[in-house]
């Protein structure tokens, strides 16, 4: 039983602006939200820059108790979820709660709180036999990664399948893909899907320092995230959350809901090569794209825009360029492909869902967001990366790809509503 799946609501917390209108303004104007880290003193780190959210939970409807209980990444999910559910027009009181699911992605979950409390219980890294009496009572919630899906399900009254998906940097695409299958195969009629991460903390910054994955361009943070540009030198850490309401198409039509787009296809493969390394050929990402095209019953030439993973590491951008050329053939050269990580940074597990919201908006506005900071071409990256300025374009089908630690390669296709 394969049912059609629609997107009927979107919500977002991203650097540079909270909420869908502010997010789209940032993308459409090609502004960047990367800056020097303010959350803690980053002295001693190689990369001291990030795309931080200026986020006031109280201003977005969270009460003091929720703020105390919920880690920052869960707060993002709650706020983005509220915007998405409101946007969808769903009245949860009228839905069968067993038929409403949740699928949220996160790469590092509660590590920020885990680190905060670790410092207390270890007396700043002095004790292996940590002192439990110093720990906060809510610590177990940070320990359990499923807290995020649980918190969102409780808030919106979902009692169907509730899942947290954690596949590193493809978590966002994979969580929404999981939701797609859940609705497509009939286990739920509605799935609140998305992802969230707040990884701007000393341990996460330090572990990416250790493998030189993040940009050391501390002197010019606004221009540090330079996907596909020949002077790129790593990704810029970000944070945020995004939620999409996925709904069975007939269910959406029956209640007269606005349908943003249809979910065309989703696929993921592993490269079985290296936890952090990528091959030059991009065979596995290409296969994910080809499989998603098959599901959407689309020819490669039907893709009008590619939302790239575009992290801005040297190997990623070449890998991805090769993969897209392999999957779309010569059409790749005629297809704009941009990376919004140039503007909002790389929020690990969250970014895949943030990028899907960007894709939904691109379809709605018929505008391709740009790759900010792109100036100097890399001879090995020879596609149209939409330098610095957003572009109007007729868009019917868009592709979003992601690539992450563990070797995971994922692809999602969204299409304008079809008859």
């Amino acid at each position: 039983m394969n049912r059609r799946v629609a997107v009927t609501g979107i919500g977002i917390v991203a650097p540079g602006g909270i909420g869908v209108p502010a997010f789209w303004d940032l993308l459409a104007e090609g502004r960047t939200a990367t800056r020097g880290i303010t959350f803690f003193d980053p002295a001693g780190l190689r990369s001291r820059i990030a795309a931080e959210c200026d986020f006031d939970p109280a201003a977005h409807g969270l009460d003091a108790e929720e703020v105390q209980r919920a880690d920052r990444y869960i707060q993002f999910a709650l706020v983005a979820g509220a915007e998405a559910v409101r946007d969808s027009g769903l009245d949860m009181q009228r839905e069968d709660p067993w038929r409403v699911g949740v699928s949220l992605g996160t790469a590092v979950g509660g590590t920020t709180r885990l680190e905060h409390d670790y410092v207390l219980v270890s007396h700043r890294g002095q004790r292996w036999d940590v002192d439990h009496r110093e720990a906060e009572p809510q610590l177990h919630r940070a320990f359990s990664p499923s807290t995020v899906a649980s918190a969102v399900a409780e808030r919106f009254g979902a009692q169907g399948p509730v899942q947290t998906v954690s596949t590193g940097c493809t978590s966002g695409l994979d969580a929404v893909g999981y939701a797609f299958h859940t609705v497509q195969e009939g286990r739920a009629d509605i799935c609140i899907a998305g992802a969230s991460d707040s990884p701007i903390s000393p341990i996460t910054m330090a572990c990416f320092d250790a493998i030189k994955a993040t940009s050391p361009n501390n002197d010019d943070p606004a221009h540090a995230s330079r996907p596909f540009d020949n002077n790129r030198d790593g990704f810029v850490m970000g944070e945020g959350g995004a939620v999409l309401v996925l709904e069975e198409l007939e269910h959406a039509r029956a209640r007269g809901a606005h349908v943003y787009c249809e979910f065309g296809g989703y696929a993921t493969f592993g490269n079985a090569y290296h936890m952090t390394g990528l091959t030059k050929e991009g065979l596995e990402m290409a296969r994910a794209v080809e499989t998603a095209l098959d599901q959407a019953r689309l020819d490669p030439t039907a893709i009008d825009y590619v939302n790239a993973h575009g992290s801005g590491t040297r190997q990623n951008d070449r890998h991805e360029t090769a993969a897209v050329k392999r999957a779309l053939g010569h059409h790749a050269y005629d297809t704009p492909m941009s990376s919004i990580k140039s503007m909002v940074g790389h929020s690990l597990g969250a970014i895949g869902a943030i990028e899907l919201v960007a894709c939904v908006l691109a379809l709605v506005k018929q505008v391709v967001p740009p790759t900010a900071n792109y100036e100097i071409p890399d001879p090995e990256c020879d596609l149209d990366y939409v330098p610095r300025v957003a572009r109007e374009r007729k868009l019917s089908s868009v592709l979003s790809v992601g690539s992450g630690f563990g070797g995971f390669q994922s692809a999602v296709i969204l299409t304008r509503p079809r008859e």
Partner: protein, 414 residues
């Protein structure tokens, strides 16, 4: 690759690294004997914590099966996963040349609820004790929840669909169901399961926040669900990986079908709202039976969640009665995890392994340490019970509010 509608997901291999056995044979022998291996925690740095009893994996030497270069970049939970995956693949006689469309037709799905805590604590100590330059290059790939799926995929060369459900306990069953659905959609094989390693000092401090955790210091009294002495659950480490394979692929390879993953249901009723889990678990059971095309009376044995919290135990007993009707009080119920502890996401995967073995042997393993059941259940205690088992129902609930049920049918080839 056959059409999705006629693809059944079979279990063709089992790999176990558990507190009571680091091979399927030793695990089954200890399980059917009702041996309890719950014991005082011996891990360095845990002596002073107010959590004294757990199920530790003691008879496991990772270096015996896993290459040094994989050992150094991974946490204990991934050591268990790599070893269990090897055992399962050997058991299924599955090598690189076994499947025509390999490597893209073999994927990996795990459930992870606690991540690489011991590795993470070591690197946190380096960062805060010495400085950021002392954090090693493997922290970024050892601590996160996707480590085991990624490493099994890389080490064994599997490029098929990979996924990680980062869940509470019920996620172990969700991972198996996720694997079965991938097989039904067209992938030939998914290596699926869960292994956990939550017995490091800081991980244990985190768990102390769970009100459901047993603080009892006597191992024989620490985890006794469905009794008046129920005082919470005992945590454990280890787990199992299973080979979930398209039935026709297994037949083509001439490999026995050990069981069929016939149905699954999943619901959510709120973190620690155990009274409400009655409805949620009953609903999950109904969904699983419906998907399996299975009448309640066909269920021959139930592997219970058995949290060991009075309110939760009551809710589970009532859920079984709600979903199975009169059969609910007659069907044999067991909870072998009282002998090894509750390894978070890994617990229901070990239960699934035990259920497959129970159907093969026609023997229901008992519930160690449990006597004087105070609910209207036919709980198998004391000794294993001989029974013809064609259908098993495995139940799991999580501390964050998930309820999950899995229906297994006995395989055809012995």
């Amino acid at each position: 690759m056959s059409e999705p509608q006629d693809r059944h997901a079979a279990i063709t291999g089992i790999g176990v690294v558990a507190p009571n056995g680091t091979s399927t044979d030793t695990f089954w022998k200890a399980t059917q004997e009702g041996l309890s291996v719950l014991d005082r925690i011996t891990r360095e740095g845990c002596e002073h914590l107010p959590l004294k009893v757990a199920g530790e994996v003691r008879a496991f030497d990772p270096a015996a099966t896993i290459e040094e270069r994989f050992l150094v970049q991974t946490d204990r939970f991934t050591h268990y996963a790599m070893a269990a995956a090897d055992f399962a693949l050997d058991d299924a006689r599955l090598g690189p040349g076994s499947i025509p469309d390999a490597p893209y037709s073999i994927g990996v799905v795990t459930a992870a609820g606690s991540g690489g805590g011991e590795f993470g604590q070591r690197e946190l100590q380096q960062l805060w004790g010495k400085g950021s330059r002392f954090v090693g290059p493997y922290q970024s790939i050892a601590w996160f929840y996707a480590a085991s799926t990624g490493q099994v995929s890389i080490r064994r060369g599997f490029k098929g669909p990979c996924s990680v459900v980062a869940s509470d306990e019920a996620g172990g069953l969700d991972a198996l169901a996720h694997a079965a659905r991938a097989v039904r959609r067209g992938t030939d094989v998914i290596v699926a399961g869960s292994t956990e390693a939550p017995l490091a000092p800081y991980s244990m401090v985190c768990q102390l926040g769970y009100e459901e955790l047993s603080r009892e210091t006597d191992p024989s009294r620490a985890y006794r669900p469905f009794t008046d002495g129920a005082c919470g659950f005992v945590p454990a480490e280890g787990g199992a990986m299973l080979v979930v394979e398209a039935e026709n692929t297994a037949r083509d390879r001439g490999v026995g079908i050990r069981a069929v993953v016939a149905g699954h249901g999943a619901t959510f009723t709120g973190a620690s709202r155990w009274a409400r889990s009655r409805d949620g678990l009953a609903q999950a059971i109904r969904q699983a039976l419906h998907e399996a095309g299975c009448a309640p009376e066909e269920v021959d044995v139930v592997f219970a969640d058995a949290l060991g919290v009075p309110e939760a135990d009551r809710a589970e007993a009532l859920a079984i009665a709600d979903a199975l009707g009169g059969h609910g009080t007659r069907v044999p119920v067991t909870a072998p995890k009282t002998g090894i502890g509750r390894g978070y996401c890994a617990a229901p995967v070990l239960d699934t392994a035990a259920a497959v073995l129970a159907m093969e042997h026609g023997l229901i393993p008992p519930t160690p340490n449990v006597f004087d059941v105070c609910h209207d259940l036919d709980l198998v205690t004391g000794r294993a019970r001989v029974a013809e088992l064609r259908t098993a129902l495995v139940l799991s609930r999580g501390l964050m509010g998930s309820n999950s049920a899995l229906v297994l049918r006995r395989g055809t080839a012995q």
